[in-house]
């Protein structure tokens, strides 16, 4: 949609849009271009020499069992975080939408964790679940359960899933609550008068009307779990024990920054970029009318 009335002249608008364009160019397009270029090169072990190798880096990655393992792990991790964070948030939102005393206080107390950094949520949950200093972690061990996410890979994965989901519940809660509040009272009242009971009403009225919100949140949560949790995982387990909690982003970081394998790391970046672009495209395809004005 365009405006009818506009101002004349072209120099001023060009100057106004320039800072954004320059920053976008320098810090988005240039690095993205360089990633694509580096992904098709290989550095010699010792020299300065850079060879063009075409698709070799990609072929190597797709044939590398470690990379595929990390990809599968990332998918499982993202799915678990999204389901946990969205499920909890939906349950809380349904109850927060009811007319109870103190509901505004409840809302504030459920929204504040939005402000917690992903890396901070790791630190906070450490004090609950660490086997040595954590309150619950110590209790689990006293109860005879062998809980130590520093040593046990499955427990480590569970731990990073919980820490990542914990932080994201608030964000989902805000959106689910807004979605629930936008359902006209008349619709739920009509269902109530038709004799639809709580659960039935929820399933037949609320769930379909929340579908767009749910889908939007699913994409946001998947992207969050795939990328923003770098801080959480790095602070809690560094991707370990072994590589048991190493998601694709941690692998890009380890291969590129720590091991200086620029070619492979760039190829991994390019694959991740394609993944994000695909997710965003899916979102716009299905939610186009909501996001575009």
């Amino acid at each position: 949609m365009d405006r009818r009335t506009v101002f004349g002249g072209w120099l001023l608008p060009v100057l106004l849009v320039l800072p954004q364009l320059l920053l976008t160019g320098f810090f988005f397009y240039w690095p993205a271009g360089e990633a694509v270029w580096s992904s098709m090169t290989s550095q010699d072990a010792f020299g300065e020499g850079v060879r063009f190798v075409g698709w070799d880096n990609f072929a190597e990655l797709l044939a590398d069992p470690l990379y595929l393992e990390s990809a599968v792990r990332t998918v499982v991790f993202c799915g678990a975080v999204s389901i946990l964070a969205m499920g909890l948030a939906l349950a809380l939102a349904v109850f927060a939408d009811r007319e109870v005393r103190g509901r505004h206080a409840y809302r504030t107390l459920l929204i504040w964790p939005y402000a917690v950094a992903p890396a901070m949520s790791a630190v906070l949950l450490l004090f609950v679940l660490d086997p040595r200093v954590g309150l619950l972690g110590r209790w689990l061990n006293r109860m005879g359960l062998d809980w130590d996410y520093h040593l046990n890979g499955n427990q480590a994965l569970l731990m990073v899933v919980m820490a990542s989901a914990w932080k994201q519940v608030s964000y989902n809660f805000i959106f689910f609550l807004a979605g629930l509040q936008s359902i006209p009272r008349a619709v739920t009242e009509a269902a109530r008068m038709d004799g639809a009971k709580g659960w039935h009403r929820f399933r037949t009225i609320t769930v379909p009307l929340l579908a767009p919100t749910t889908f939007f949140l699913l994409v946001v949560n998947l992207v969050y779990a795939a990328f923003d949790t770098f801080g959480t995982i790095n602070a809690l387990t560094h991707g370990g024990p072994g590589k048991d909690t190493e998601t694709l982003v941690l692998k890009v970081f380890r291969d590129g920054v720590v091991n200086q394998d620029i070619g492979s790391s760039s190829a991994q970046s390019v694959i991740l970029m394609l993944g994000v672009i695909a997710l965003t495209a899916v979102q716009f395809r299905f939610l186009g009318r909501r996001t575009e004005t």
């Binding site: 509901r103 929204i111 519940v169 790095n234 602070a235």
Partner: protein, 276 residues
């Protein structure tokens, strides 16, 4: 309507509140106790008032191997403010240009900003680092915030807001002889106040919570943000001064949580209207 309190609702909501509050309470209580007790697992759930001076000590001196907390808080605050205000400023300017003017390549300019919506920092870590090195921005404060202020999301949001400004208002302004910059300052920015406030909250939190970016471009400890510093503190293998870590964590949480809670009304409205 039934008068009986809805016990189930209170129970579920209270459980949710505890789920979020428990870790913070633990950290708050622990920050006032002795590190030896925490290491032994004797953490009491009741804060000891006698431990409050620890906050002053951590704030001014810091702990072993870390910058003083006041310094890390200053870096984080400056970074979060620069990112929030920088993003808002350049996004308002670019959205204003795209909405209120017709200039060559306008559509291309808009689309080339729009497309970057799909590229989070995390996917272009390495190449961005090499670009940063060419600009000499590694280990500088500028490097911490300037590359993060380009924003497709904010530009899109302001575009939506500006498109909704009635044509009559623009015509009236032109009739009064107001130029485009005066119109921006006197009309457009004031009517977007609520959106700017909401975006400020979202971006302040975004800036404060950065982790991967500072980890990558600022290895100099004097540029450590509070989040980076805190993760470094828990990374020490033995002899961690847990009470100091907990006091630092409390201070790291306070500013962004305060911003969200105090500006909750604008923030929630802005978030759900603009979608992200």
């Amino acid at each position: 309507m039934n008068r009986k309190p809805d016990y189930l609702t209170h129970a579920v909501l209270a459980l949710g509140v505890v789920l979020f509050a428990l870790p913070v309470w633990l950290v708050l209580a622990g920050s006032t106790q002795e590190s030896e007790a925490i290491t032994r697992g004797d953490l009491s759930l009741i804060p000891h008032l006698s431990g409050l001076p620890r906050y002053w000590q951590v704030l001014t001196e810091g702990t072993r191997g870390a910058e003083p907390v006041w310094h890390m808080l200053a870096i984080s605050s400056a970074m979060a403010l620069c990112i929030a205000l920088g993003k808002i400023t350049i996004s308002i300017l670019s959205a204003y240009a795209v909405v209120f003017f017709r200039f060559p390549l306008r559509k291309l300019a808009f689309w080339s900003i729009f497309v970057t919506l799909m590229l989070p920092v995390e996917v272009r870590i390495i190449p961005t680092y090499s670009v940063m090195a060419q600009f000499g921005l590694i280990n500088t404060f500028t490097g911490l915030w300037v590359p993060l202020i380009a924003s497709a999301t904010a530009t899109l949001l302001f575009r939506q807001v500006f498109v909704a400004i009635p044509d009559e208002l623009v015509e009236a302004a032109r009739m009064d002889g107001a130029g485009p910059l005066r119109f921006l300052r006197d009309i457009v920015i004031p009517v977007s106040g609520a959106n700017i406030a909401a975006l400020f909250v979202i971006l302040f939190v975004y800036g404060w919570n950065q982790y991967l970016w500072p980890l990558l471009v600022a290895t100099d400890p004097s540029l450590d943000t509070i989040v980076i510093g805190l993760v470094k503190m828990i990374g020490i293998d033995s002899d961690t001064d847990w009470a100091a870590v907990m006091a630092t964590a409390v201070m790291a949480l306070l500013p962004p949580v305060a911003v969200v809670v105090l500006m909750q009304r604008w923030f929630v409205a802005g978030l759900t209207e603009g979608e992200k």
